[in-house]
């Protein structure tokens, strides 16, 4: 049976596409939903399927923030006070904590405002404050910033992360955005079809994806099938469509494998410079088949003969004078080529 564990004081980011079971997982942890199998343990105690007073006693040690603010009709202060009110915190203490919390999230002057008058960012800030004011032992966040514009999202991510770290709060942060997962999580868990596809640090997930699904999901868009031709001392040569690629991997000769490389790990150089000495063990030329400039980053597809996508800055694109049909040098390190699993 699969096991998900969150350590005290840790922020676990749960990354996965829509329908992978992220929200259900959070609602199960919050005892809002009863699992059809398995158990939920809180500080080692089995809390699965608790009801009534016992359930409330456990859920009162947690709080959850949803994708939508889901604010109650009334004022900002009224919303933030809610969790304290149901916990029967005395009015005086409640007022103080609400005021402190609101000041802490930069909404000190909006305390008496009606929630209808808030912007999307402010509303979500209130939702976060409403959960944090309780000082929960575990904070559960269900894609809380997914509906916000990019600048607001980044600000809120930073603020929330700082608060979580400062207070050493245990949190589970669900998201479908890899950047957000790496920004928020001390550790990332990738969910696929309700199962754990991979668990680890951001580097591990992004650069050593365990499965093809994880690789694709975290943006490793260059994926090929290959045959291991040679392998010694941890360096393997994998043949992909006739071209030998070097990878740092312990793997048996003759094995069919999948290999992947992130577009950001591919460097482009002028074709006549490709033979110059370099630390990149993979160095060859190919023909540019497609150039897609998107804002500051451009994606260049090179036929090697397999289509290899390189992500470079638009500035480099201009400096290299890259155009369709041109011959270009391609380089990447043996450590950048990831060998994972067997090809099907």
């Amino acid at each position: 049976m699969e096991r998900l564990e969150v350590q005290q004081g840790e922020v676990l980011a749960v990354l996965g596409p829509s329908g992978s079971g992220k929200s259900v997982l959070l609602r199960t942890l919050n005892l809002l939903e009863r699992p059809s199998g398995g158990t939920v343990r809180f500080y080692g105690q089995d809390v699965t399927g608790l009801e009534g007073r016992e359930r409330t006693a456990v859920t009162r040690r947690m709080a959850m923030v949803f994708q939508d603010p889901l604010l109650f009709h009334g004022t900002v202060a009224g919303n933030v006070a809610y969790g304290l009110k149901v916990r029967k915190v005395a009015a005086e203490e409640r007022a103080g904590r609400v005021a402190n919390m609101l000041a802490g999230v930069g909404l000190g002057d909006r305390s008496g405002a009606y929630v209808q008058s808030l912007s999307g960012g402010e509303a979500q800030r209130v939702a976060v404050a409403r959960a944090l004011v309780i000082e929960p032992e575990v904070l559960l966040l269900d894609e809380p910033f997914a509906n916000l514009d990019a600048p607001t999202r980044h600000t809120l991510q930073e603020e929330t992360r700082d608060i979580l770290r400062d207070r050493g709060m245990t949190a589970v942060f669900v998201t479908h955005d890899q950047d957000e997962a790496s920004r928020m999580g001390d550790r990332i868990l990738v969910l696929h079809d309700g199962s754990i596809a991979q668990e680890g640090g951001a580097r591990e997930i992004f650069y050593r994806p365990a499965t093809e699904f994880v690789a694709r999901f975290v943006g490793m868009s260059n994926l090929y099938e290959g045959l291991v031709e040679a392998c010694e001392e941890g360096l393997a040569r994998v043949s992909v469509q006739g071209r030998g690629l070097f990878a740092v991997a312990e793997i048996d000769c003759g094995e069919k494998v999948k290999v992947g490389i992130r577009p950001e790990d591919v460097t482009l150089v002028p074709a006549d410079e490709v033979d110059r000495p370099t630390s990149s063990m993979n160095s060859f030329t190919g023909k540019v088949t497609d150039v897609e400039a998107r804002g500051p980053v451009a994606r260049v597809t090179v036929a090697c003969p397999f289509p290899l996508v390189a992500a470079i800055t638009t500035r480099s694109l201009d400096e290299l004078e890259i155009a369709g049909g041109a011959e270009i040098g391609v380089r990447f390190k043996a450590t950048a080529l990831v060998v994972f699993g067997e090809a099907e």
Partner: protein
């Protein structure tokens, strides 16, 4: 001939009977409507159908049916409430309670169910979460009470049958209107009708004020215990 004393008595009785019936209907209908909206149980669909059908009960039919039960030789004849205001309250509760129930159910249905989830995730018990949703549905709940009161204050058939429209005893403003019209006094009849309308106006102004947002000051005072 109708005296001014009879008029005042009818006015007073209308207010007491319909007011009491509305309060009792709210006490039955709001919890029942909430139960139907927030909890699942067997036979819920059937109960809802009955409630919705009862919302359209013809008052005279309810009047006759209730009369047959409470008349002296009826099954509940021994309690002796026939031709008394108590019977009138009873019949009005039968008419108004389904309306309050139906409206309560409908207005809770349109509240975002995730608000209940949000409340529970913040530590609310199931009941507290239901209260949050009821607070969100407040305008609808007050509309339910207005509709219930509207039905009974304007009603004439059922109260005539079970109350008997006895002068200075069980006459209400509506039965008085009927009497005055029959006695060939359409002018006075219209005047009483206008009083009836005026009552509806006052009650609705009062309830609509409840429906609107309470002052900012008050809300803040209530939730945080202080005013900044």
């Amino acid at each position: 001939m109708i005296t001014i004393g009879q008029f005042w008595h009818a006015l007073w009785l209308s207010l007491v009977v319909s007011g009491l019936a509305t309060v009792i209907s709210a006490l039955i209908g709001i919890p029942l409507g909430t139960l139907l909206s927030e909890f699942d149980f067997r036979g819920k669909g059937a109960v809802l159908t009955v409630v919705h059908t009862f919302m359209a009960l013809p008052p005279v039919v309810v009047g006759v049916f209730t009369f047959l039960i409470i008349m002296r030789s009826g099954p509940l004849g021994s309690i002796g409430i026939v031709y008394t205001p108590a019977a009138m309250v009873l019949v009005q509760v039968i008419l108004a309670a389904p309306i309050v129930t139906g409206f309560t159910h409908a207005s809770l249905q349109v509240v975002d169910p995730r608000l209940g989830l949000a409340a529970r995730s913040l530590g609310a018990t199931r009941m507290q979460a239901v209260l949050v949703k009821m607070r969100e549905a407040r305008p609808g709940l007050i509309a339910a009470i207005i509709a219930g009161f509207g039905r009974v204050i304007a009603e004439v058939g059922a109260v005539t049958i079970v109350g008997g429209a006895i002068s200075s005893q069980t006459d209400t403003l509506t039965t008085l209107v009927v009497k005055l019209t029959r006695q060939g006094q359409p002018g006075l009849s219209l005047l009483v009708g206008a009083v009836l309308l005026f009552i509806a106006l006052i009650v609705n102004i009062f309830l609509t004020r409840l429906q609107a947002d309470r002052g900012k000051r008050k809300v803040q005072e209530r939730v945080t215990g202080y005013v900044s």
